[in-house]
Symmetry: D3
Subunit: 137 residues, 6 copies
């Protein structure tokens, strides 16, 4: 079993905000991340697929195919978007990096033709990264 990673990037606006709470409560929890005028990030995404090598090609999966799947099912939904307003797969979720990471997993998990989705990693800033492997506690 080999692991292959494809990296992609997107730029988006968001705001950390729980609509059942007041602005003051949101500010207390999220600080400047709850700014009602939004802020944004350059997100770096890494999608890891695991499986065995096809002897005819030496590939686990053609990473250009994986790139296109990521483009269609993830990047086109988030790049240059407002994650609170425009991203269907984050509807009714607070767009923290944790929820974005799991949302991306759910977009991809049934769409990898060869190999199996192993991990989704998301870097929100150079100091904060997140990873989801589909595990439950």
């Amino acid at each position: 079993m080999i692991y292959a990673t494809r990296r992609a990037t997107f730029n988006a606006a968001h705001r950390l905000y729980n609509p059942v709470l007041s602005e003051e409560e949101n500010y207390k929890i999220f600080g400047k991340c709850s700014n009602p005028n939004w802020h944004g990030h350059n997100y770096v995404l890494e999608v890891v697929v695991a499986g065995d090598i096809d002897p005819a090609t030496g590939y686990l999966i053609d990473l250009k195919i994986l790139r296109d799947i990521i483009e269609e099912h993830v990047i086109s939904h988030v790049d240059h978007k407002n994650l609170n307003i425009e991203t269907e797969f984050l509807r009714n979720k607070i767009p923290t990096a944790e929820n974005i990471t799991i949302g991306i997993w759910n977009q991809l998990v049934n769409r990898i033709p060869k190999g199996k989705l192993y991990s989704v990693k998301l870097c929100e800033t150079e100091n904060n990264y997140f990873e989801y492997k589909g595990e439950t506690i």
Copy 2:
């Protein structure tokens, strides 16, 4: 003469939009960067100061002082902000990386106590960087 650089980062939302043009004209010029729902970036800023070394300290300038000047006059105006709405020094400017870079120069140029502001560099994405040295053509 030695050059000393201090690096800082900030996260912000913006939209490329010229208010004298229609939405359609803005879209034609700026594409998805004109999304009315905003998008955003992790900006990386490098401020370069030039001058001679103080023999008593071996410093051009204490970079902690430079860090605090950058924090007060730049970062606090742009970090977790909407650059179109909330940043006074970009008022009436389209917040392209070019205009942000020059705006940051103008915020800093008269506030460096030792040495002289030499250059402001701004990285908007991993593929696009900008630099301003106060030169006129």
Copy 3:
């Protein structure tokens, strides 16, 4: 279960030296890393916490809280310090990256309020990294 990583940096001096051995034996084992006049590094630390997401916040843990825990229990003990002389949690340990990594784990393992410490990673140079997950062989 999601994994969240917080990155931090510190600068320190150290020397690889086993006090039960002679200077010559230390030099034979550790080479220039045993220089009695010390050398040092910019260490990059990554702390990985695992757990489930709080639905009220969308966070595993507020990474600003994790940052403050790392600052109080790790960074303040090692940044701009001599790891052989000044770091209590490395007392009687040879300050190899391996021992520093495990020492940092021990500083943090009972102090993460939400989620569970999953991994401590330490980068000593651009070619040498270390990771500890609390596993025993």
Copy 4:
């Protein structure tokens, strides 16, 4: 149990080409990667070893020893080489990153004197990485 990683780099030429298929079929599968005039990469290799710490040294393994093993058994076979023609351990393999990664594992797995080979990671471009841990499906 601690994990120690040593990073190394090499530059090589290759071509993705299955000799049992025609040039046209190779082009259909591999695109410009099947260019008969070759192309090449700066590969970044990370070798991860796992084991316990020797109390006399504080080391899992002296990484200079690991560096020399990687140099002798991997780098000298691939650096500034043509991977299709000149690398014995890739003979009769299509030199995809997947097959190079597994070939490197096989070169190293029985040659680590302390600790156990845990993982081989190979970065072929800034967007494509691969990892092998000796697992079978």
Copy 5:
């Protein structure tokens, strides 16, 4: 005057070889870089354009236009190519990073519609970079 940089990457094979010299003389000058079976690199290219800002757009130049010019006149000639055999703009040149850098400058210098080509930077390995500004000694 502002400087805008666009970054691009390409992967290529090459060989350092002066055809007027023998294989032995080439090996003496270029060492393993003269391997007749080729080797290759992931090249990182940065193209710097200088000029003033268009007040209607806030742009020096739309970097998507610059990206397309670089793609058409540089990347399509070098990516996944053999630089000794297939790249017209390097014909009769030894494809050292110095000559590639100047060749790229010549491809671009008359094709920048707004602003002026200021600099071409080329990173061949993580330790070796090159820059050309069209200067003569």
Copy 6:
């Protein structure tokens, strides 16, 4: 005229301390950087040489020759050393990054056989960089 850069790294201990001042005055100026027990850094050095290309080789200078000059005249004097005690070319200098950068320039300026030393850059931390070009004010 082309510019060629060679990158190198070294690890060292130092302390910012002016011996004509008291410990208290040193602490007031340099803060934790004046720790009498030392601290240290992974320094990244970039040496830029400028000149014209030798048509016989396509090189400005063989970067392996430049690497060896840097190793002999810089790295061997600073790597795994205490910069206050052991580095002859910093004697009677406070080893700030500014003074280290100029010291490295002085070590190299008359030792480049082809081309001319153009710039010495030194990165002390990921946020602080320095450059010297031999200019006087």
